[in-house]
Symmetry: C2
């Protein structure tokens, strides 16, 4: 077992050191001549000047007749002037004005008469004529160096007679996935095989900023082989990303190889996630070793690689734009690192709310669900609930404004409603978090969600939900909307090998529980008590998962034998299902939000035939 | 001469009518199966569900050793526990945990000892293990229908075993340029030839929203030919844009042809620019006749065509985002139309300022220079100077924040400084408008510009600039920074055919003047008075141009014989130049802005060797 230690360079310092070294090494950027009509999105290597005027001749601005203005002086509304054929010329918009004429009268302002036309007012010189250079004069600078070309700029260059432009050469990034255990995308990976998808994420992220990339074949953890591929890529490409192997483990060769072929400037940055990054140069070519965990890799891409790509492309890296939000939960962070916490952001009457997502570096969905990144500076312990925080949005703010925030008990039907809402005429984005039924009560009380699903059993009355509303909203403020009847039961392995038939049978096997505050956990605690079971004797009672499907997955894969959950999850994982009860899964809606368009759209989808059809396909519900 | 009238449908109504008809005609959108690794930017036709869990096996989250947690209970910092070889297994991050183990101890937390390892604390069950489904559970919805795919989403699909996705088919737009006078881009157009660049602008605008297009060859104004091409394009493409010919002039066939092959829904919209648009359908294919003027066409593209393209692509059209700005000039608008006024936007201490750009429909540079669009609603007369207006930005607000606003006398050297600023280490965007020297005084007094170039002759003392500062800034508020000595003179045709040698000679020819308030105009008025000339006798005295190059262009092209201007403009147009005087072209800087980084960067560029080199290449300056 090899054991090395990484440095912990503050991330801003790491970027400065690296970008400085890259600029020195690269020197003048390559340029190339590009046809103007294909130059959209390219970056100008030097200023562009018009080579002709636009218009390049005196042009009629209207459909009408070209006249000599001096001929028309006597024309008046009540005394029309007759212009005989030959004393004027019919012109269309854009036609050249013959030298002898100096004004145009619009077709709407004349009437035809035998052998000529009548006009009703005099024309002043240059009237309705676009004079030479009205838009662009030869020699005018049309755009300065390093301008990113818009379609309109390309159009103006062509108007100014510029058919080719000198642009910064497009950098090509080489992406090298590495690792013995890494396999190409598949729906049937073997145990221990890791699906290689980081290259797709990183090449897409480069494409988002207009940079092309080339993905190399997966290289196994063999030092000589990896050295050869990195050397080749550094020659073929303008920059290289080596995926995984950037840490200090047994098979982490990236740093060593870059050091042998060139030089390592930084190894280890004070970022969480993102620490084990290698920033190096081989000759003029920047070579970055990215951490294997996708979330860590994305952070290093955003913070380090994108600025490098922008520099190579001649583009300015856009400044990060932040909004201010209220922390909907407390966020504890390490003093050692700058932490990049993925958050969902919701907007309610009282402003934006940021809700942290799971923080493990392997959780790619924390990035797909994220609306923003909360950056917790190094040497900061984090934020308290209710504190004002700065969040960098990952979506347009309009999209956040239009989101329906659902926080509560997990049920796949929420996702189905999300899908129906996206497909509707006035689409809303449903942003959901699984915080359990009691989490829904809190979220609606604090107005951080519009609504949430609940199935809260009153263990005294045996009834659902109503008594909780009375207790937690004694003065109103929330409405309860009936949802669905939902069958809860015990999920067990196919064939029921542990012979579980009633709830008390769970003592004889490995159980997997739901998190505290979830309706299913309340049901479980209630049943445990009802049957007089000793929870400390139930194996796995303290192992908690946050969704029905996560519980089903643990059972299907043998980590546990049994767990409480809903029928649709059991069906999905091909598990047997022992029905325990039918519970009322309802929606708790913030009174303040009830009449809003988004909540009404939600209720409409809930009542729709399309939704009923989906429920019956999923199974396990009673309407 | 044919003469038809267009309707004047309010633009929002036109869009509603048209989009409704398109939706009805198109029905269900085409879909296609796309490889997930190539699906970045595509739009999901239906929701995507995970087909495997991620991780799909219990995986080590760290480099270290896999152990049975029950074996480790007695380990403590002061009483390390020895684990013999065979009782644990070395694992790297991502390795599968063998079934017999249930925890991982990090490599940093162990020490090797003969025949085994020492550990210093107990391991709890599932410690440092990524359990099956930690990130994604099989069956979880990963994204709802109509989601635009980000790189991160594509990565999460691959993690969930989804290697192909059902996407909305990409619509293809056909673009047909028309017109007898239209020619392909060239730097040598003949008189009367119009360079075709609208297709480049419009295809680029479609590409900006992710829509592909195909540009057809230019079709002359022949009805049968145009009918055949439109019919063919309507079959080959998902939508068609016919460029020009959309009005009601002699050769405007678009409306007639669409009507004969399908139906016209709207002809003529109450937009300025943009009125002569045709919105039609041929079968299921939307066919739009766009006005020939680029600026009109761009407005119709933004307001009508982009929403249609978004609908066909399955995307939501982003809501327009507005900022509030102060009108820096009054803006008069017609009651008949909704007007789209291109404006530059500057930011000063007291907020945003909007300055209208030239409004002629043929002026493409009004779009390339624009920072935003000020929409003046129909039935509104416009805005007074100082009024608060809503502007839709065309650039990121950070770019506006970072702009240096220069308003004053025109000189090409300003553009050269703009270029140097873009190339500098800390680039600023220089946003300049040609408002003349007196315009600079006003702009600095009202804090709507950071600075401006001035060359104001005190006709009593014969000196430049100083006395104006005293008069207009009696209590300070502005600084004067010395600029350059600049040679003013009379520009005349090569060979001086009108025999102009001194200023009074201008009476014998056609003169072209500069606008009132410009320093050059003040000089001209001064010289006219000095030599006792009668301005009403000077032909063209009231013909005004706004820049030196525009004056030179009029002379070079024979619209005038002579005009006052600077040497570099004469040189550019190969004109002869009769020196009149050397004037002091200085910079008037708002005191409040003097110490700002952007103004300091400007002054640094002004004093640089690179700038001196450019000036000497241009000629006509004294340093």
């Amino acid at each position: 077992m090899k054991q090395n230690y990484l440095n912990n360079t503050p991330i801003e310092e790491a970027l400065n050191i690296y970008l400085g070294a890259v600029k020195d090494a690269v020197g003048e950027r390559k340029t190339e001549t590009v046809k103007t009509c294909e130059a959209f999105g390219r970056v100008l290597a030097k200023a562009v000047y018009a080579v002709i005027c636009s218009p390049h001749y005196n042009a009629s601005a209207m459909d009408g007749i070209a006249v000599k203005s001096a001929d028309t002086v006597s024309a008046a509304e009540n005394e029309p002037l007759f212009l005989p054929d030959g004393s004027f010329q019919v012109v269309d918009t854009g036609d050249a004005i013959p030298d002898e004429y100096d004004a145009v009268i619009m077709v709407e302002d004349i009437t035809e008469k035998d052998g000529g036309v009548l006009i009703y007012s005099s024309a002043h010189p240059w009237q309705n004529i676009r004079q030479i250079g009205e838009d662009i004069c030869m020699g005018d600078m049309l755009a300065p160096s390093l301008t990113v070309l818009t379609p309109q700029l390309c159009g103006s260059f062509l108007a100014g007679g510029v058919t080719e432009v000198e642009c910064i050469g497009k950098p090509l990034f080489g992406i090298i996935p590495t690792g013995d255990e890494i396999v190409s995308p598949t729906s049937n990976p073997k145990k221990g095989e890791i699906i290689e998808f980081n290259s797709v994420i990183f090449s897409g992220m480069l494409k988002e900023i207009g940079t092309e990339s080339k993905i190399y074949e997966i290289v196994p953890d063999k030092k000589e082989l990896l050295t050869a591929v990195i050397r080749q890529a550094a020659e073929e490409c303008d920059a290289v990303l080596v995926l995984a192997g950037s840490s200090a483990g047994r098979d982490d060769y990236t740093s060593e190889i870059i050091d042998s072929l060139g030089r390592v400037l930084v190894h280890g940055i004070a970022a969480k996630p993102g620490k084990p990054a290698v920033l190096g140069l081989i000759g003029k070519t920047p070579v970055v070793g990215l951490p294997g965990y996708p979330v860590s890799g994305i952070v290093v891409m955003n913070e380090i690689v994108k600025p490098v790509a922008d520099f190579l492309s001649g583009k300015e890296t856009p400044e990060k734009a932040f909004i201010t939000a209220t922390a909907a939960r407390s966020i504890v962070s390490s003093l050692k690192y700058k932490e990049f916490v993925r958050v969902t952001v919701g907007k309610r009457e009282n402003g934006f709310f940021a809700q942290p997502l799971p923080r493990a570096a392997g959780v790619i969905t924390s990035f797909t669900k994220a609306d923003g990144i909360l950056e917790v500076p190094q040497n900061t312990e984090g934020y308290e609930i209710g504190e004002q925080v700065r969040v960098r949005l990952l979506r347009p703010v309009e999209e956040i404004d239009n989101s329906l925030i659902v926080a509560g008990s997990h049920d796949p039907l929420i996702d189905e409603i999300a899908d129906l809402l996206k497909r509707s005429e006035a689409p809303y984005r449903l942003c959901s978090s699984h915080v359990g039924s009691m989490g829904a009560v809190t979220a609606v009380r604090t107005h951080t969600a519009h609504l949430g699903g609940i199935h809260l059993l009153d263990t005294e009355s045996g009834k659902y939900n109503e008594s909780y509303i009375k207790r937690y909203f004694p003065n109103g403020g929330a409405r309860l909307v009936k949802g669905v009847g939902r069958i809860q039961g015990l999920m067990v392995k196919k064939g029921n090998p542990c012979n579980i038939y009633t709830f008390p049978d769970i003592v004889s096997c490995r159980y997997v529980n739901r998190q505290k505050g979830s309706g299913t956990r309340i049901l479980c605690d209630f049943l445990t008590q009802k049957y007089g079971l000793d929870e400390s004797k139930i194996k796995g009672y303290y192992t908690e998962e946050c969704t029905h499907t996560a519980v089903a997955a643990q059972i299907a894969n043998g980590n546990a034998d049994c767990g409480l959950g809903i029928y649709s999850a059991a069906k999905m994982y091909d598990l047997d299902f022992i029905e325990i009860c039918v519970e009322e899964y309802d929606f708790l809606i913030d009174e303040k939000a009830y009449d809003s368009d988004s909540v009404q759209a939600f209720l409409k989808a809930l009542g729709s035939e399309a939704f009923k059809k989906r429920l019956s396909e999923m199974g396990g519900y009673r309407l």
